[in-house]
């Protein structure tokens, strides 16, 4: 058994939380190597080398990998991974984009979004928006696995792995990067925040969403949203929590003006404590909430913010 983890690095910047939690999942099987492929790897590889259970950090540095375009990335990977039995990546937009492409190239199935490693070839993964958990056993010679990182904790930074450059040729004549519109924010990252405050359609407008953001800032929380809120333009797409958005499991999740559709619950029902504020006492969100308040959000949320 030889395990490789694909570090997520965006334009030289390590997605530390996602990568560390993926290492944590992979390390249930043993020590791991981590591949850092990006345009600048120095900073990322230094951080990864400190992660517990990492044995070797492999560096693949080339401008081609700056945006992790699927073609550039997988072209290289198919050579690098041939000596491994397991390849883990976070189930982020990065992992979901590249891992199945590698699978297609090498005729390997991908085991998406696992929530648990049972053994070397057996894993659990949620299906049907988390309404069922399936145990699957793979017969592939190389197991390609993406990890639902919200199910794992980050590894401690007590390691000291060796760092080695590797050489691999790649090209990409198929796709060209044009631009990124990345939201920068001082708030904690949605997928790693300890507290998340989310707003739904009930919030009513982009301007009103400031109520949600105000409470979030008071709590040092990340801001999330339902699909309805994103579709209506109240909140940017990268705030969406749910089956097709981000999966979060903070210590505290506050759902405001969100009805609690299965697709939304799929992204937050593993939160430790769920608080719901909704004016409709029949709203399904109350069936999963630890604490509920039946009230108008426009009255309740500003008052809560003031009293905290």
């Amino acid at each position: 058994m030889k395990i490789l983890v694909l570090a997520e690095i965006n334009d030289g910047e390590l997605a530390e939380d996602q990568t560390s939690k993926t290492v944590s999942a992979a390390a249930t099987l043993g020590k791991v190597d981590v591949l850092c492929a990006s345009n600048k790897c120095a900073d990322a590889s230094t951080k990864v080398a400190k992660m517990d259970n990492v044995e070797n950090v492999l560096i693949l540095e080339d401008d081609l990998f700056a945006q992790s375009l699927a073609e550039s990335y997988s072209e290289t990977l198919i050579h690098t991974i041939s000596s491994y039995s397991h390849v883990f990546a976070p189930s982020s937009s990065f992992g979901k984009n590249v891992l199945p492409r590698i699978g297609g190239m090498l005729d390997l199935m991908v085991i998406s979004d696992i929530s648990k490693v049972i053994s070397e070839d057996t894993f659990e993964r949620p299906v049907y928006a988390g309404n069922a958990i399936q145990t699957v056993q793979s017969i592939d010679k190389i197991k390609l696995i993406s990890v639902r990182t919200s199910n794992y904790s980050a590894v401690p930074l007590t390691g000291s792995a060796s760092i080695n450059k590797i050489d691999c040729k790649s090209k990409n004549t198929l796709t060209t990067f044009i631009e990124n519109k990345i939201q920068t924010s001082d708030r904690p990252e949605l997928t790693s925040a300890k507290v998340v405050v989310s707003g739904g359609r009930g919030v009513g407008s982009k301007e009103n969403f400031e109520i949600i953001e105000g409470l979030a800032d008071k709590l040092g929380a990340a801001v999330g949203a339902s699909r309805a809120a994103v579709d209506s333009g109240f909140a940017p797409n990268d705030w969406q929590v749910g089956q097709t958005g981000k999966v979060v499991a903070p210590d505290l999740y506050v759902a405001v003006g969100i009805s609690g559709a299965i697709q939304h619950l799929a992204g937050m029902k593993d939160s430790k404590v769920i608080v719901a504020i909704n004016k409709d006492e029949e709203a399904p969100i109350f069936q999963v909430a630890d604490f509920g308040l039946v009230d108008d959000l426009f009255k309740a949320v500003p008052e809560i913010e003031k009293k905290i």
Binding site: A70, V98, G104, D113, I178, V230, D238, I262, A289, G292
Partner: protein, 252 residues
């Protein structure tokens, strides 16, 4: 140009999935099945591209059981020109893996030579999010996943992708495989006259063997269970109690 749109028949998104008591899977007998919502969005986009004069023909493909015919009739009623049904199973409970689906679609692509393949980004039943990427790899075509905006240019297609940090725009050389996200468009409903017309549109039925594709399964499903359920908690009397609960659980 031709556009190929694979459409999957899945448990309707409004129906709660029920785990079978023997742990063998989800009960799909006598439940409402529909077109995977993401595939509906892919098909809608194909129709819009055609309406703008950028495509001549839309072919819808479905892989699964005989009843997937219904899904294809819906696709034809929405605006696909013809349909291909690949009967690959006689039991609806037998889900076909993305890798095999990609093999079947690769064979169909060689036959039909589309310039664009529009897929849903994931099927809402198995939630794999893999078919488009695998298909693109097998064809060695360009890949653009999670599209929220698609602009067909001459030899390239410009795609805005929904990524974790926000939005990313790339240009993909044609032919290309694109997987679509929720915000790309809102699918139309088929009108009654179009539903009638769809009955006369061609629907070809073939088997994986006709395409020379072997049915394989790399992941054995050992068991399916209910997730840990959450109990409904307390409905609080007033805001002060809620403030207290929030404070107890912040940083706790």
């Amino acid at each position: 140009m031709k556009i190929l749109v694979p459409v999957k028949r899945v448990l309707d998104y409004n129906v709660k999935a029920r785990v079978k008591a023997d742990g063998s899977g989800i009960d799909l007998t006598n439940v409402k099945m529909s077109m995977n919502p993401f595939d509906e969005i892919a098909l809608e986009e194909a129709i819009r591209i055609k309406e703008k004069g950028n495509a001549e023909e839309i072919i819808a493909v479905s892989i699964g059981v005989q009843q997937n015919q219904e899904t294809l009739r819906t696709a034809l009623a929405m605006g696909a020109d013809r349909a291909i049904l690949v009967v690959a199973s006689d039991d609806v409970h037998n889900d076909i893996e993305p890798l095999t689906v990609a093999n079947i679609l690769t064979a169909i692509t060689f036959k039909e030579s589309p310039s664009l393949i529009l897929c849903g980004k994931q099927a809402i039943d198995n939630d794999f999010n893999a078919t488009a990427q695998m298909l693109s790899a097998k064809l060695n075509w360009s890949q653009a996943t999670f599209a929220s905006e698609i602009e067909v240019k001459k030899d390239v297609v410009r795609v805005t992708r929904e990524v974790d940090g926000g939005l990313q725009t790339i240009e993909a050389k044609m032919p290309a495989v694109i997987s679509v996200d929720l915000r790309l468009n809102e699918p139309r409903y088929a009108s009654l006259p179009n539903i009638m017309k769809a009955k006369r549109k061609p629907l070809e039925e073939i088997s994986p063997a006709d395409l020379g594709v072997e049915m394989t399964q790399r992941l054995k499903i050992i068991k399916t269970k209910e997730p840990d359920s959450r109990e409904a908690g307390l409905i609080l009397e007033n805001i002060d109690q809620l403030v207290e609960k929030i404070q107890e659980n912040v940083g706790g």
